[in-house]
């Protein structure tokens, strides 16, 4: 059976009272300053996360011990209106370099006026996360987010 996209994308929208250029710049240049630090995959606590400002750039976290963990790659870099990155984190909550397992996040920045910007985010191709997970055997213990991803992947795979 071929993997048609069956899982609807996630979407989120937020409006900020800043010009579109600044919204894009804060989102990208200052990514590590606003990303919630509890959501990270490295063994060490997260010091910062970095989004390299060009297509093909890396998207990764840096731990307090200097270690690095890849989250994905920049697919589209179109300042100040559009950004697409891959999400290459698997159900074990680890970096997964296989591009066929990559879901995608598109972020669009629209100027509502000179000092207001709407930011729309879409996390799509979530089925690929499942496909990646289907390669794994068994479900291990753990807790929280990793377990949930595993549960999700197992269930979605069983339904395929």
């Amino acid at each position: 059976m071929n993997s048609a996209a069956t899982i609807p994308p996630l979407t989120g929208t937020i409006t900020v009272d800043v010009p579109v250029e600044r919204a894009f710049r804060v989102f990208t240049d200052s990514f590590g300053s606003w990303w919630p630090a509890e959501y990270h995959i490295g063994q060490a606590d997260m010091a910062t996360a970095i989004l390299e400002p060009h297509a093909g750039g890396r998207w990764y976290e840096q731990g307090v011990d200097g270690s690095e963990c890849d989250w994905g790659r920049v697919l589209a870099w179109e300042p100040p209106h559009r950004l697409v990155v891959t999400w290459q984190i698997n159900g074990q909550w680890q970096s997964d370099p296989d591009p066929s397992h990559a879901s995608e996040i598109e972020v669009r920045f629209s100027a509502d006026g000179p000092d207001q910007t709407t930011v729309e985010l879409e996390h799509r191709l979530l089925d690929r996360l499942v496909d990646g997970q289907a390669l794994r055997d068994g479900i291990t213990g753990g807790g929280g987010w990793p377990s949930l991803l595993e549960l999700f992947a197992k269930t979605a795979t069983n339904q395929a």
Binding site: L10, G12, F27
Partner: protein, 109 residues
């Protein structure tokens, strides 16, 4: 701040509900087990479970005299809700950062 479209925010935006959800991600539990693991009363746990059930994230089954709660095996719902929660938090953090950023003028050259 407008976070319309971020479904799941209401369900997992509450810290107690999130804690219950994460405990159930580890293993199925009764209300009593959840109340023991958390600093809230049984009746508060029951109220949160009702919200999570209504939202489709949690299901329950009677086993003898006990009622066991677990995450909805339709994990798609649960995963989407959880990722939604992360993105909602991330976008809120972004908005705060954007609005706090200094009004640095564009370089004139």
């Amino acid at each position: 701040m407008d976070t319309n479209g971020v479904a799941g925010l209401g369900l997992l935006g509450d810290p107690s509900r999130r804690a219950i959800f994460e405990l159930l991600a580890r293993r199925p539990c009764t209300v009593g087990e959840l109340a023991q693991a958390l600093p809230i009363t049984r009746s508060a746990v029951s109220q949160h479970l009702r919200v999570l059930k209504d939202g489709g994230l949690v299901v329950s089954k009677a086993e003898g005299t006990r009622r066991i709660y677990r995450l909805n095996p339709d994990g798609v719902t649960a995963l989407r809700a959880y990722l939604d929660r992360i993105w909602a938090e991330a976008l809120t953090g972004f908005a705060k950062a954007a609005q706090a950023a200094p009004l640095d003028p564009e370089p004139e050259d």
